[in-house]
Amino acid sequence: MRYLSIDVLRMVAIFVMVWVHFLENLSGVESSITGFGAPLFSFLAGVSYCLWIEQQRERLSSEAISKISIRRGLFVFGVGIAFNVLVWLPEDTFNWDVLTLIGTALLILNASRHMPDYVLLMAAGSSIFVAPMLQGLADYNSYWPENYYDGGLTLSGILIGYFVVGYFPFFPWISYALVGYVLGRRLFTQETALRIDWKPVCCIGLGLLLFAFGLHWLSSQLGGSFAASAINRQVLSGWKMYPPSVEYVIGTLGITLLMFGGLLHFIDGSKQPERWERRLSLTRSFSRYSFSIYILHHLVHIWPLWIFALLRGEEPTAYWRVAMTVPYSAGLATLFLMGLTLFLYCRGDRTPVGMERAMRWLCD
């Protein structure tokens, strides 16, 4: 069963991602919505995995589900590595972008899907609070010399990047998928009789957001002592995505839950769901093609930069972040989204082509 709220949320994440990436990679500008797309994707990966398991449980054995999950996880991970090589060039093979994170999340969720909810939530909480300490141990800033990740190609460097200092390292980004999975189990499994209970979701989301603001306020009140500055430097470092601070992770988790709960109430919990089905049918297409859209939008705006620079006899990355001003990059992003919308509208409900189909063909 598909839930429109999940499709809507994923479509929002796609729009945010496309907008942010176009502006960042073409103009070197960080927009105000930077940092809201990736948490949504990671969270929804957990929710969608839970829903997929519920659908498969009646027709597949537990072993078969595990095999498919492992294949899918490795496929996404592998595509992530290949994507880094082909899009970001071989030097950035191990930059640990979001695809490798989601591939890892699928593997972890498969391994832990029989564990009780409190274990997964403890793991999520631990990863959030352990991450700043690991970042301190690893000297995070030394891997980000010019505000982009420049990891080493040694084994230790690769591992440190994967776990802590990459673009989307295991700690703390795995927490989103774990929370999403637990929430999916609470809301959408047979045991809960498909009861859509949006109020606790919104309350928890609001609580997390307020907690994040509370932490942010606390860090501003700590003063100038050695301990306070250590805490500010290592643990409560403000609302930052790179590295993902405690306030950022908890705050974005709260916002995600608030949005999810609200959409559950107004759309899936609506007394006239068919009305929303008609109005939001396009979101389903966006959601079904999210994997392909992620790759396509990178190809569309990154490859031309490399090709143009090579044709002019320059370093391939010469025009990265400096290709054009914001109005042009924003215009291109809008054009891409409009073209995508048109394509998906014409495509309708036909079987998806692209990465999703390849994944099903290879892994299922």
Binding site: M122, S126, V130, L134, A138, I160
Partner: protein, 311 residues
């Protein structure tokens, strides 16, 4: 063909009251040990009968004019010569069929008829007609018939409730063998069902002494009527069937209670174990990272002899 005497006979409406102190005119009314009630006559309203323990039920007669009060059984009692005239019988049958249907009592088309020693008793649904030979037989036979009616009604209620709950209770069968984290949310429902089954058993056992009471010796007019009624209503057989059906659910819920209790006790230990596991994993993580970062630092910094030879 109707009988005027029957039509003019007052309907006596009774209500069964459970575990309640019965008051009439501000006084608690009690029943003498021999079962007679000098205050309750065939024609007076407000009579009270106590059933033998442990039924725990008293019968309160409602005022005939208080039609707003719901009664459990309505009775017409007449002293009439035997054999009872056809007109009276037909009037009685017609009156019985006019009564409300009850899912807990026999509401089939046939009327239950019992005749013995000049007494004729007709019963259908929640109405009864009693024809006795003499006035002095009215009170004893009324009491025993009300008790027998109450027994049948209670057995009928238990059968209905069991039928209603059967599919709900069946859904708990898997919990008798497997109880884990995913089933934790069903605990409240399990407790409710377990308590319902226990209460069911309690109610069933409460009826048992009266249903399986041996024949009274020497037999009395009233005791024979009661025994005959119980046989006709097949109360002993129905009670036995309910007992057997309930046993399976009792076994199921005992098993469920055991599983849920065992899991709940183990869960606390599991949580502590997981906390310890997480702390150990974090410790190993920090230790591993210290090693990794030291390897990384030493890889970044070439050894001194290489630097010196380069110089």
């Amino acid at each position: 063909m109707t009988d005027d005497r029957f039509h003019n006979c007052i309907q006596r409406r009774f209500r069964f009251v459970e575990d309640a102190k019965l008051l009439r005119n501000g006084r608690q009314v009690s029943m003498p040990a021999d079962g007679s009630d000098s205050q309750a006559t065939a024609s007076s309203a407000g009579a009270t009968f106590h059933f033998r323990p442990p039924l725990g039920v008293k019968v309160q007669e409602l005022d005939s004019w208080a039609t707003s009060e719901q009664s459990d059984v309505t009775v017409k009692v007449l002293a009439m010569d035997s054999p009872v005239p056809e007109a009276a019988l037909h009037s009685g049958e017609a009156w019985l069929f006019e009564g409300p249907k009850s899912k807990d009592m026999n509401s089939e088309e046939t009327i239950r008829t019992m005749q013995m020693q000049g007494c004729t008793i007709l019963q259908h649904g929640t109405r009864m007609v009693i024809f006795t030979l003499t006035e002095d037989r009215i009170v004893p036979i009324l009491k025993t018939m009300l008790e027998a009616f109450h027994l049948e009604r209670e057995v009928g209620r238990l059968e209905s409730e069991l039928a209603e709950n059967w599919s709900d209770w069946d859904e708990d069968i898997p919990l008798g063998i497997v109880f884990g984290e995913r089933q934790l949310g069903t605990r409240a429902r399990l407790v409710e069902h377990h308590n319902a089954v226990r209460r069911f058993r309690s109610r069933l056992e409460r009826l048992s002494p009266a249903i399986h009471a041996p024949h009274v010796y020497p037999p009395t007019y009233a005791s024979q009527a009661s025994e005959r009624y119980r046989e006709r209503a097949q109360l002993a057989h129905r009670h036995e069937v309910l007992d057997g059906q309930l046993q399976s659910f009792e076994t199921l819920y005992e098993s469920c209670a055991q599983r849920a209790s065992d899991y709940a006790n183990a869960r606390t230990g599991h949580i502590l174990e997981w906390v310890i596991i997480f702390l150990l994993v974090i410790q190993v993580l920090f230790y591993s990272f210290e090693i990794l970062t030291s390897i990384e630092e030493s890889a970044a910094t070439p050894p001194k002899n290489i630097i010196q030879s380069a110089e």
